[in-house]
Amino acid sequence: MDERELVTVFYQRAWNLWDDTVVDEILSPEFAFRGSLGDEVRGPDGWRAYRDGIRRAVPDFHNEIVDLVTSPGRAAARLRYTGHHRGVLLGRQGRGQPIEYAGAAFFTCSGGQLTTAWVLGDLDSLRRQVTG
């Protein structure tokens, strides 16, 4: 897979479909992930733990790739996150209310796998939605 395919599979399958079967294929064993909520984890299993936390909080969490820019070994995406807040997020219990916030991610790739992902999200907007 090239950079564009890797990022697309990461969001459309590993995230949006909660498809665990692609995780070990697309994430390197040393994958370093900094999520939009600020957590930093390592390896496919570290990412799975982050994913599971998000899934408990927002079971229908959806990543829309708004823009995707790639070059050899690098990729960047502009994202729109949506879902319904049903678990605990930013310390608040959800009531099923819709959430939506923007983000951006920067990836490095090597050997047909994602090696790092560094993600930023508009947490102030998210905070206002979960505490409002």
Binding site: R74, G103, L123, R127
Partner: protein, 134 residues
Amino acid sequence: MQPAALVETWFEMCRTGDESRLGDLATADYVCHGPGGTASRDGFLGWLRWYPTVFADQRVEVHDVIVSDDRVVARYTVRSTYRGGFLELPAAGQPVRETGIIIFRLVDGRVAESWYEGNDLQIAQQLGAAVVPR
């Protein structure tokens, strides 16, 4: 201007607040997008006059740049000293670590549009704001 030089000059403009550089860097109809919404060129100029006075003594580190077609992406860290004026948070010379990603769309070598995401909530926490727990 080559993309790498454009990124370097862009951050230098933001660091210094030197709005005279904007004519070379951005188109006349430049539009910027960020967590606060969308702003015109005039709106960006207002931000440019505000930013380096609030976050002073900036040290910029550009970690990565991607260039592809009409897009340039920069991932960066800016370390600075807080001088007051952000979310009405009191200033005590706090050190600030800002991280961000900016995606630029270029037309004829100048920035026509940009999208920014950063760690604004964490900056507020660095400055002592009470923010909901994780």
